[in-house]
Amino acid sequence: MAAKRVLGNDPFKRGAAPRVPVATKPVLTPQAERKATPEMQTVQAPKAPLANEAKPTAPLRPSKKSKAIGPPPPVRARAAAEPVAHAEAPSATGLGKQPAPHFSSPSLSADPVPHAGAPSATGLGTQPAPHFSSPSLSADPVPHAGAPSATGLGKQPASHFSSPSVWADPIPHAAAPSATGLGAEPASHFSSPTLASDPVRHDATPEAFSLGREPVAHAAAPEVVPPTVRPPPEAALTERPQTPVQLSPSLLSRDGAIASVKGVAGALRAVIGRSGKDTRVDAYGRDEALVQSLQPLADALEKYWRVTLEGVADVPAGASVLVANHAGALPIDGPLLHHALKRERPDLLPARWLLEDQIFHSPGLGVLWNRIGAVRASPENAMQLLAEHTPIVVFPEGFQGLSKPFAQRYQLQRFGRGGYVKIAARAGVPIVPVAIVGAEESVPLLAKLPAEALGIPFLPLTLPPLPARWFIKFGTPIVVEGGAAAATDLALVQKLNEQVRDTIDVMLKDLLSRRDGVF
């Protein structure tokens, strides 16, 4: 089991940040959904409880995904409403039904054997169905339930998706029928083979079990759930209940696809450096029309990466300095954070992220990033943006964060000279530590190709974006005491700098330890 977990958690274990002991992660996957196929349904799982060891202290919230990933519009409202509907129920009830982590490893995808959600299966039969199916399923009358689409799409009808394929998607999409079946006949589709062979299943702890089956708990669940749902820090980051990655059908609607073709064309023109005659940009170069036309694509990517946000409600209103770790071969963390924040916190001005010169002045990419909202990192720009009440995102690791090899992923580099602390002090705004997990595996830096001639330090050799799941955690805001005077106190600046770095480090390790799989 241990081996499996390691595999599941991080197939590239070497060099990864240390992880907490397995025991703390109570995660169960209703695997039925992932792999169930019609044939499988015929096979009845004989059995029994296979809950993982579930810890009450660390509840998992399966359905966070739907919240984070669903269709953009009414952010707050959705966040509030949703959890009640499906997500919270399971967690409130207990962990028994959490999706198991076993499935996360990429190898799984290749595995023809259907993993049934064994543990839950048992329970399912006996219990009210809702709990077992993915959270969204249970609450949601709409049949998108078990379908692969459920994971990513929340409530989008799966029907209009054209392109089935995806280069990057290693994992086969679960068959829709079976998924549906899940909702209807809970107990039916569990594949026994896996269960038998899988050692993990056997060590289900009794409590988990009982928790899972308690009808009372389930009933109570909805009320228990707080209206606004911010996953507590301890919650495991599992949202995998349904399907793994879904690139194909559900990511992009036809309209979205058409719009994004236009967006991509605009982006390519920006990359070349030849914008349109009617291009309008704001004072810092953001082209709102381009951003709008790229919106469907950004939404699709967010679903593809199943971006989960934690603590986004804690980002203070008005200006603030969001400090995040930089990761991956391509600087996609900035735009993604910007996009997620814009959707979740419409009350804030769209956050601008500051880009180091190596990226900002790199041909092509620099222009494109500037058009979608990046600003060159400089104290003057930061102060000006803050004065305009715009939250700014900084990556104090700078280019070092992007140029570290994959083996050193999630190892924070030096946080510059703490310039962002001085800026926050001078502007009198709080610092919000942000940990981003997922970028390193989405676009791993495999090699650096020499590219001096192109005017960039190196050309990163990476893969097409892999479907790693992303987690973005916003920490408690740190207020810099002392105002502008603090900015000149180098010792204080260094101390705060280290403090922020440590905070992000802890958040990263926490996210990594709670994540039950890369993909």
Binding site: A283, P363, E380
Partner: protein
């Protein structure tokens, strides 16, 4: 109020003149030039002056003492195409030297001189918006810029030395408009313009009417010092060029660079590579001081200003 000016036949002088004539507070206008500009209105007084002649400062000093001016616009800068760079250098640098000597001697109350935001240079490490305090950087090989940097240096020295003279320096973004003729408008009127592929920096321009208005506002403001005077909005350079009817042709940087090197080696007229920085990095100036203290707000949005280049009236 008596107002004197040099360079009355320059673009800015030509645009400013009607505003001065319409200004009720301006009692007398005195134009200093080598020849009387054609169509100069009758009520404008003309004084012959050759700023290039050795001893010009003594002439000017005597003439200034006679007319007792309240404000002086020094607009005699070469913006049209020059075939003799030495002449332009003499006029701009030495001419300004003479003029400053005379103005300092007779203590004209106010001196207004136009300058350029191009002087900041396009630099990778510049902030998004350059304040007036940002250092100026001459561009290697571009006389048009390096001479004006020298003029600004003289002005800064002058205003330190003669604090009783109010010196206002207006750094204009590239001035565009149907009647303007300066290096920038000549660039924009080229059909095909090579740009650097993968770069599309933001540019500012200012419409000629707005520029003239800012110059006129400088006559009455209480403020002094340096002002960035920029148009309304910014836009990627490729978008601006397209709006003006020309065609930006992005060329890969290394190819462009070698092409320029080859042309220089062959003694063909070529834009120096240093000029290409303006197509790679932004060089936007922060115009908020002018808005605050000159009360100058541009009227013509950037794309409209560029589109006005299509109608040519020169």
């Amino acid at each position: 109020m008596r107002v004197g000016l040099t360079g009355a036949s320059s673009d800015l002088g030509r645009l400013l003149m009607p505003k001065l004539l319409a200004d009720e507070q301006v009692a007398e206008i005195v134009v200093f030039d080598v020849t009387r500009p054609v169509d100069l209105p009758e009520r404008v007084k003309f004084v012959r002056l050759d700023l290039l002649r050795p001893g010009a400062e003594a002439d000017l000093e005597r003439q200034l003492a006679e007319v007792r001016l309240d404000a002086f616009f020094h607009l005699a800068f070469v913006n049209s195409r020059v075939h003799r760079a030495a002449f332009a250098h003499e006029l701009e640098v030495i001419g300004t030297l003479h003029l400053l000597a005379a103005v300092g001697a007779v203590k004209v109350k106010r001196l207004i001189v136009p300058s350029l935001t191009v002087l900041y240079g396009a630099r990778p490490n510049a902030p998004a918006y350059l304040p007036e305090s940002a250092p100026l950087h001459p561009v290697q090989g571009i006389r048009f810029v390096s001479d004006r940097v020298e003029v600004e240096r003289q002005l800064a020295e002058f205003s330190d030395r003669f604090p009783e003279v109010e010196v206002l320096t207006l750094r204009f973004a590239p001035i565009v408009g149907p009647t303007s003729n300066n290096p920038f408008t000549r660039l924009v009127r080229t059909k095909l313009i090579p740009t650097v592929m993968g770069f599309d920096p933001l540019w500012q321009v200012i419409h000629e009417e707005d520029a003239a208005r800012a110059l006129h506002l400088a006559l009455h403001t209480k403020a002094r010092g340096v002002f960035n005077v920029v148009g309304d909005g910014v836009a990627p350079v490729s978008s601006l060029l397209l709006a003006a009817g020309s065609m930006p042709v992005p060329m890969p940087g290394p190819i462009l660079r070698s092409a320029i090197a080859a042309m220089e080696a062959a003694s063909l007229p070529a834009s120096p590579w240093a000029l290409m920085d303006f197509f790679r990095y932004t060089w936007l100036a922060d115009g908020r001081r002018a808005a605050r203290e000159l009360h100058f707000l541009p009227h013509v949005p950037v794309h409209e200003a560029m589109a006005s280049m299509r109608e040519r009236r020169t």
